[in-house]
């Protein structure tokens, strides 16, 4: 079935003309750079002299590159905590906010606020919250009689960073879940109530199955975001001269390219990251067919 009006004759010209900026931008910006990255990953290039063909060298070097291994492990650890965190918490928040109470829009705005504020600015605030001797969080812990925790020390930094990233992503997930929740017809709940279903039954038998499309979508988006996460992590864990105590793959790509004159190696890392994400997406879509319920 087709929707909308079909462009005719002269309109077709204007259609193409008006779409041209986006299409050209997409071709040059996205496809162009993807293609360039693929080609560069087979080159030895320092950006300033002529690129030299390197074959698979950049890829084989990754197997012995301990720093890349550490970065990859960090990215995977981060994603393993971040993705379930975002899905569960934003669903929970969405359910709480999916009701008619006074000032609901204020709550929704508060939860969505992190999505529209600058990550760098909020990371600086979080830095102050997490401070060991001066931080607000430790102030509360100490006033409750606890021992101060060094939140951003290397052993705790990963967890602290995951918390901030989840906090920053709840808003977006919440919006998607709210859309999914409001799409569930009221009658289902009413019918279930008539049949004597309690709250838990309603939640697990109606809500959960019917928001699986949202769960799927939020999982997908947050997985992609997890593998690309950089801003909060870097701002919270940076040391002098561009070093980071929790180096992730994106950080490693940036550092190899811009600090170490190693664009070929950086491209190979980017491609490897893309392959991992694509593989995960393939698994997700396979799972979607099995588990996601569409009405």
């Amino acid at each position: 079935m087709e929707y909308g009006l079909k462009p005719l004759g002269k309109e077709r010209f204007w259609l193409l003309l008006l779409l041209a900026p986006t299409i050209i931008g997409l071709i040059l910006g996205a496809f162009g750079s993807i293609l360039a990255t693929i080609v560069l990953s087979f080159m030895r290039w320092d950006l300033l002299s002529k690129p030299v063909w390197a074959g698979l060298e950049n890829y084989t070097a990754l197997f012995t590159n301990e720093k890349f291994y550490i970065a990859l492990t960090n990215t995977i650890k981060f994603s393993a905590m971040y993705v379930p965190g975002v899905v569960i918490i934003s669903m929970f928040v969405a359910i709480l906010l999916n009701r008619k109470i006074r000032g609901i829009t204020i709550f929704r705005t508060i939860y969505f606020l992190p999505c529209v504020t600058s990550a760098v600015a909020t990371a600086l605030i979080w830095n102050m919250i997490y401070g060991k001797d001066t931080g607000i969080l430790n102030y509360f812990i100490q006033s409750l009689g606890g021992k101060p925790i060094c939140w951003l020390c290397t052993n705790n930094a990963m967890l602290s960073v995951v918390i901030v990233n989840i906090w920053g992503a709840i808003g977006e997930g919440m919006i998607i879940f709210l859309a999914g929740l409001t799409a569930i017809p009221r009658e289902y709940y009413e019918a279930a109530k008539v049949d004597g279903a309690n709250g838990a039954h309603q939640f697990f038998r109606i809500t959960i199955p019917l928001v699986t499309p949202s769960i799927f979508f939020v999982t997908l988006i947050s997985t992609i975001n997890a593998f690309q996460a950089y801003d909060y992590i870097y701002m919270l864990t940076r040391r002098s001269q561009g070093d980071s105590s929790v180096p992730v793959v994106v950080f490693s790509i940036y550092r190899n390219a811009w600090n170490f004159f190693n664009y070929g190696g950086a491209s190979a890392q980017a491609i490897e990251l893309a392959i991992i994400v694509i593989a995960l997406m393939a698994i997700y879509f396979w799972m979607e067919k099995r588990y996601v319920v569409y009405e």
Binding site: L47, L48, M128, L152, C153, N155, R255, W258, N259, F261
Partner: protein, 423 residues
């Protein structure tokens, strides 16, 4: 449709002819790029205005970006073959660019200007001199000195640092200046603060004055793990973890800025670039030379920023004229007013322009006297990656998470591997 085609052809031809005519006759426009704070742009603009008034045939477009974006932007412009004609260079990174063939050899221009380099501090020229001539020239330099908070010294009743200060005196003072003011178990005032990631602020000075080396002369071997260097490292380690008079990275990080400037640390070691920032503080402070090591040695680090010309510059003559102006008495005096650095011309450095800067009343002479025992920050191809290998590798120590000696044992071979790769 026809009209659109016609119109675009017309516009294109106009643009082309405009470009063509500009290439033929003056005035020519060159671009100049440097790193710096927004305030520096105003000073550069001032220099450019003066220069343009003296050279009506040359126009200069100035662009100033912060340190990090500067290098990213520069590399992108070089890769796209549209580099700025003249751009700022940090001496340690000079060979990373020169060896990749993107810089112009300006020796022919220097030859055409007899006596041009006569007034320069010789040590500042060292970094840029290559067997086939200069591919860049220093514009100003930095010597690292000891800064101290006079108010804190007075409050603790400790004598100010002198030329005769040893590292032991320094250590004792740092200890007594470390105070837990309210007795809650956390330190509120630190004796000393410095960043130990980069060598320039403290650790290369310490290793050199102890009698050690950072790297060998032909840049094939990292020497920070030699026994004598380890003694210097041990000194820094003890400051931080035995005396606890210097905050570790976790502790200093939570203040989110310079602890000396924030009035939290009593001493620091840093270059002249810190002066304008420190000039704004409430407390009184001054500078003293770096202390003397137990073996009687004394050393500091000297590093310079410079000018280079892009090899592909269309206007090398105009670019040289601009550099020449910036390195003249007038240009240097203007740059010195910024207060960020020390002029490369001895005559300007020893004039009131530098010695009696108005923003703050400190002993500027210390920066010049330090040249007597200053060592050049190493300059070689692959510097950035080598320095990062050491800085990143040693970082866990300064977080209090790794052992000094075992870390050195692993970092040195890693750094050597980087040197071998960049040969």
């Amino acid at each position: 449709m026809k009209r659109i085609v016609l119109l675009s052809v017309l516009i294109a031809s106009m643009l082309l002819s405009a470009c063509a005519s500009q290439a033929k006759q003056g005035p020519v426009t060159i671009s100049f790029m440097a790193w710096g704070d927004p305030e520096e742009l105003a000073v550069w603009q001032q220099i450019v205005d003066d220069f343009q008034a003296a050279n009506p045939n040359i126009k200069v477009n100035v662009e100033v970006s912060d340190w990090d974006s500067y290098w990213t932007k520069l590399k992108t412009l070089l890769a796209a073959n549209t580099p700025p004609d003249v751009f700022a260079m940090d001496a340690p990174l000079y060979l990373d660019y020169q060896s990749r063939g993107v810089l112009l050899n300006i020796q022919p221009y220097i030859d055409k200007t007899p006596g041009f380099l006569d007034g320069f501090y010789p040590v500042t020229l060292e970094a840029y001199k290559l067997p086939d001539g200069y591919y860049g020239l220093p514009r100003d330099f930095q010597t690292v000195v000891l800064y101290y908070n006079i108010d804190m010294f007075n409050a603790a009743g400790i004598a100010y640092p002198t030329v005769d200060w040893t590292y032991d005196d320094f250590r004792t003072a740092a200890k007594s200046l470390t105070i837990d003011k309210n007795g809650d178990g956390t330190i509120d005032q630190w004796g000393f603060t410095s960043d130990l990631w980069d060598m320039e602020l403290f650790w290369s000075e310490a290793i050199w004055s102890w009698g050690g080396e950072v790297i060998n002369a032909d840049h094939t071997q990292t020497l920070v793990g030699e026994p004598i260097a380890r003694e210097a490292w041990q000194f820094m380690y003890d400051l931080m973890f035995t005396d606890k008079s210097m905050p570790d990275t976790n502790t200093s990080g939570q203040y989110g800025g310079d602890l000396f400037q924030a009035g939290i640390a009593a001493m620091t070691t840093i270059g002249h670039w810190a002066v304008p920032g420190y000039a704004t503080v409430e407390f009184k402070w001054d500078v003293a030379p770096m202390p003397i090591s137990p073996s009687g040695g004394r050393a500091t680090s000297v590093n310079s920023a410079g000018f280079v010309v892009a090899k592909d510059s269309k206007y090398p003559d105009a670019s040289w004229e601009f550099i020449k102006y910036c390195l003249s008495q007038t240009g240097q005096a203007r740059l010195t007013e910024l207060g960020l650095a020390i002029p490369v011309l001895e005559s300007v450095a020893n004039s009131p322009v530098f010695l009696e800067q108005t923003m703050v009343n400190i002993n500027q002479q210390v920066f010049l006297d330090s040249l007597a025992f200053a060592r050049m920050k190493p300059v070689f191809k692959g510097y950035d990656e080598w320095a990062s290998t050491i800085g990143d590798g040693m970082a866990p120590i300064w977080l209090g998470e790794a052992d000094l000696n075992t870390t050195l044992d692993t970092v040195v071979p890693e750094a050597d591997a980087v040197l071998a790769k960049n040969k």
